[in-house]
């Protein structure tokens, strides 16, 4: 769950990170007032949940309050990567001597947070890492042992920063790591973190992403920042298909049958279990298949929930067939999912034998599930067929008919 820049900065400020004078404007008058209060040149930044603002012309500089009001009108309607802003952040413009980059995110391979620091901030960090690897440090962080300023100092020092800059940057980096860990973030980024010509250090731009599953845990913060319960904060607004998927999942507390993401293929997927969804989705693509959707099914969804998810997947006109596949599951009843899926196919006016390319859910009560599948003529397999192979069979059936 992504936060706007102004929200991220509010959290940073609460934790003592140094920020410039600023105000959030929803109208041109507010933009003028904030510029007046700041009392000098300002920068106006469109508040969208996406990068590329500068390139889109959604960040502009004003020398006077009147100019700030005028630029407010210019910036507000600018669409940045499909997003339009509802507000503009007006912030003091600062004369910069040096820019730095600092971020903490998750390293999926190491299964640990990683602190990334560079003394070449303000530009794309991937580009810096590629062209100037000696100016980027990566430090993995324990989620058990406390993070100490010494570790921050080592990470900063590894890029060649020394002296007073090293001492001034250390508490900022340490605090950002503490924020990352305290709020279950998936990203805490400051780019750029700057040293001004007068020697002060300031967070110029930054943003945070909260782990979606931790939203309830941090509901107090979410509420304090004024984020509504209906704001999903995804990179793009959900499609009606995805909203319908969320409704299916919310309709019953039992198990999971949702997390639907829409794609433009022709093979509907009812997939899941412990990372199985991602693996199976990739396997379908690897075999040359074109998924019509991603979804997650797991736990012990009710028959109705599995049925409704299947009906939703089949509701897309381009979906000719579906594949029902899961990782090996000990906590999902195979027969219950089989009932739900077959019921969904039948209620969609289709023939299960024709529509379901493959049913591969190895797990509890699978013998009972197999009886149901046999009764409806559905091809199924057990755990002796890998997920990859099952995906291949589904794709082969699609291709045979096209």
């Amino acid at each position: 769950m992504r936060f706007y820049e102004y929200e991220s900065k509010e959290l940073f400020e609460r934790h003592g990170l140094p920020l410039g004078k600023r105000g959030l404007a929803h109208t041109r008058e507010e933009a003028r007032e904030h510029a007046e209060q700041i009392g000098g040149p300002v920068v106006l930044k469109s508040q969208v949940l996406s990068g590329g603002r500068m390139k889109a012309g959604a960040v502009k500089f004003a020398d006077t309050p009147d100019e700030a009001a005028q630029l407010f009108d210019e910036i507000l309607p600018i669409v940045v990567n499909g997003q339009t802003a509802k507000s503009i952040l007006v912030e003091e413009k600062s004369p910069i001597a040096q820019e730095y980059y600092v971020a903490i995110t998750w390293d999926g391979r190491r299964k640990l947070p990683v602190l990334i620091f560079s003394d070449m901030g303000g530009i794309d960090i991937e580009e810096v890492a590629e062209k100037h690897p000696d100016h980027v440090s990566q430090t993995h962080i324990s989620t058990i042992l406390p993070f100490t300023p010494r570790l921050a100092k080592e990470a900063i020092g590894a890029t060649g920063v020394t002296g007073s800059a090293l001492n001034r940057l250390t508490p900022i980096v340490t605090t950002l790591v503490e924020i990352f860990l305290a709020y279950d973030l998936t990203l805490a980024e400051i780019n750029p973190l700057v040293r001004l010509e007068d020697g002060r250090f300031l967070v110029l731009d930054g943003h945070i992403d909260l782990e979606a599953e931790a939203r309830d845990k941090h509901s107090a913060l979410v509420e304090e920042l004024g984020i509504g319960a209906d704001e999903t904060r995804q990179a793009r607004p959900p499609t009606p298909f995805e909203t319908a998927g969320a409704k299916v999942d919310a309709s019953d507390h039992r198990g999971v049958a949702g997390n639907v993401v829409e794609f433009d293929g022709d093979l509907g997927l009812v997939i899941g279990a412990g990372g199985g969804s991602l693996t199976l989705f990739d396997a379908v693509r690897k075999h040359g298949g074109r998924p019509a959707n991603y979804c997650e099914i797991g736990g012990n969804p009710s028959v109705k929930k599995a049925c409704e998810l299947t009906k939703l997947v089949l509701s897309k006109p381009e979906v000719a067939k579906i594949a029902v596949m899961m990782n090996v599951v000990s906590n999902t009843r195979v027969d219950i999912v089989a009932r739900g899926v077959i019921k969904g196919v039948v209620e969609s006016g289709r023939d299960p034998a024709e529509t379901i390319t493959i049913f591969r859910i190895p797990g509890s009560w699978e013998e009972e599930g197999f009886k149901i599948l046999e009764r409806y003529g559905v091809e199924y397999c057990d755990r002796s067929v890998s997920m990859y192979e099952a995906a291949g069979r589904a794709v082969a059936k699609m291709q045979a008919e096209s």
Binding site: D335, I336, K343, E368
Partner: protein, 73 residues
């Protein structure tokens, strides 16, 4: 709509007995039985396919009073 996969039958004697009916409502984990005051026990048809085949209803009643049938066998 009756179940597509499961059918449940309860003897008239049990369905007419408020105490036994209440027991059935209590034991079924997926609300297949419902009781309305002064009426015989009702089968909630829309929940029939949710039956987990746990046999709790069968065990809670006199032998043969409840039958849970798999329609796919």
């Amino acid at each position: 709509m009756p179940g597509m996969f499961i059918d449940v039958k309860v003897s008239e004697a049990v369905a007419g007995d408020a105490e036994l009916s209440a027991k059935l409502v209590e034991v079924c984990p997926v609300s297949i039985f419902a009781q309305v005051e002064n009426e015989p026990l009702q089968i909630v048809e829309e929940n029939l396919d949710e039956c987990t085949l746990c046999d709790l209803c069968i065990e809670a009643m006199p032998k043969g009073a409840v039958e849970v049938r798999k329609l796919y066998e």
